[in-house]
Symmetry: C2
């Protein structure tokens, strides 16, 4: 059986027992393809599922009454989307794919069952939620207290860093499917100004642009411009997850041994 995308994603955080894998697998419906610029959900819709991004780029946004909009976050393959509506029965933001993409849907109600059955998965979900928050916080700082050029430089560095986690980046060369209008909506700027800032960065030899592709020529320079510190992307979760695994073993031990859970670290 081929590994589902959520298993691959979770294994990035911690080795899983066979039980955990089966549990995750049982959640997953068949992956669905979305064509460029189609909507996965819109504001106000009932929120019954969350998703993992398997292929392509996705963004969540909020439309304003005056016609403008704010892009809240951008997701790349490996990311989990929609956990934030756990506490809401309607979508508070929209989600659309900006390139051809593949997503897997999971019914939200089954989360509780997962929590009940696997302490490790529960902890990982909680951790994903916390990491999401960290990214939002940094974006908040970006919007509130940085200049246009800092905003753009910071955004580029963050995306590049996040892509490195689950995807390969060669020589700091990344394909950026974001139009300048999209970027503007993400950074709280006008599209025109984004264009000007891009020009600036090009002229300072910090980046290179060729139709949709961006190459970070001088990462150190960009870091200086942006005041970028990747700390907020570097979770340190071993302690918590180890604790979860340990407790799970205790529980299993009490109710009847579960051999699949011994020697966790060696399971593949």
């Amino acid at each position: 059986m081929e590994k589902s995308c959520i298993i691959k994603h979770f294994e990035h955080y911690s080795p899983l027992t066979e039980d955990d894998k089966l549990l995750l697998d049982s959640l997953e419906k068949s992956p669905r393809e979305y064509r460029k610029n189609t909507s996965v959900w819109t504001q106000g819709e009932p929120s019954n599922h969350f998703y993992t991004v398997s292929k392509g780029w996705v963004y969540s946004y909020r439309n304003m009454e005056d016609g403008s909009r704010q892009i809240l976050d951008v997701y790349v393959p490996g990311d989990v989307v929609g956990l934030r509506e756990f506490a809401f029965n309607k979508r508070i933001t929209g989600l659309t794919v900006m390139s051809d993409a593949v997503l897997c849907a999971f019914p939200k109600t089954r989360l509780t069952e997962v929590f009940a059955e696997s302490l490790l998965l529960c902890s990982i979900f909680f951790m994903i939620s916390a990491t999401d928050q960290a990214i939002l916080l940094e974006r908040l700082v970006n919007l509130g207290r940085r200049s246009a050029r800092q905003k753009l430089a910071h955004f580029l560095l963050e995306i590049s860093k996040r892509l490195q986690k689950t995807n390969v980046i060669i020589n700091n060369h990344l394909t950026l499917p974001l139009t300048q209008t999209l970027l503007a909506d993400a950074l709280g700027l006008s599209a025109v100004h984004v264009n000007r800032v891009f020009k600036e960065l090009r002229e300072e030899n910090l980046i290179e642009q060729t139709n949709g592709h961006v190459q970070l020529l001088d990462v150190e320079g960009l870091r200086e411009v942006a005041g970028f510190d990747a700390g907020y992307l570097e979770e340190n979760i071993e302690a918590m997850l180890q604790q979860a695994r340990q407790m799970q073993r205790k529980i299993n031990g009490a109710g009847g041994a579960d051999p699949a859970d011994l020697g966790i670290l060696e399971t593949s």
Copy 2:
């Protein structure tokens, strides 16, 4: 025995079983007082605890290299603080109290134990994390796509709404312990500009100000100015929590019935 503050907080979301209450209570160390403008934790410190706010106002912030700072969120009595560092072993933001305050500390490592022992509490924690995110999202929109007067009006309405949840507000009159400098750092503005916008709102008879107190004279008018929609503050969690209670009963049912919960759910 007096109810601990976290129990009061959690009961706001869902009735708790005696077991749940005991569990929560076991977490709580003695509340600690903080004097105005003292720090609870700072950036980079190890993050071993999370807190509930029992009295007073608190804010989390991020300091920038150039000396400016961004206030990320403001917390009022009843709020849970620090869950976002679940995935990090160092603080990614600072936290300080802006009025005399009382907070209760909880060791972070015990969260896993709580997750293992009570599905309901686990769900509530997850929900709090999700609601936090919703607030951050709205703040993001505020910073990215609203004018100064919209930002301020929106902030006032949000705080007022959030205070109503666990505290009483009479006649839209709220005591705002935020200085204009603090507000500026929260809204991504300069203190001078915040002052000017306050003046505008006063002159339009939308608010009234008398040393530290703000009265919202015309909530409807403010709502119009801000484009405020409280949807993001109105979690709808009954379905999820009911599911959690039901499953918990099933689990307990195996070992011994728990009468404290009269769930009414017709899930498949």
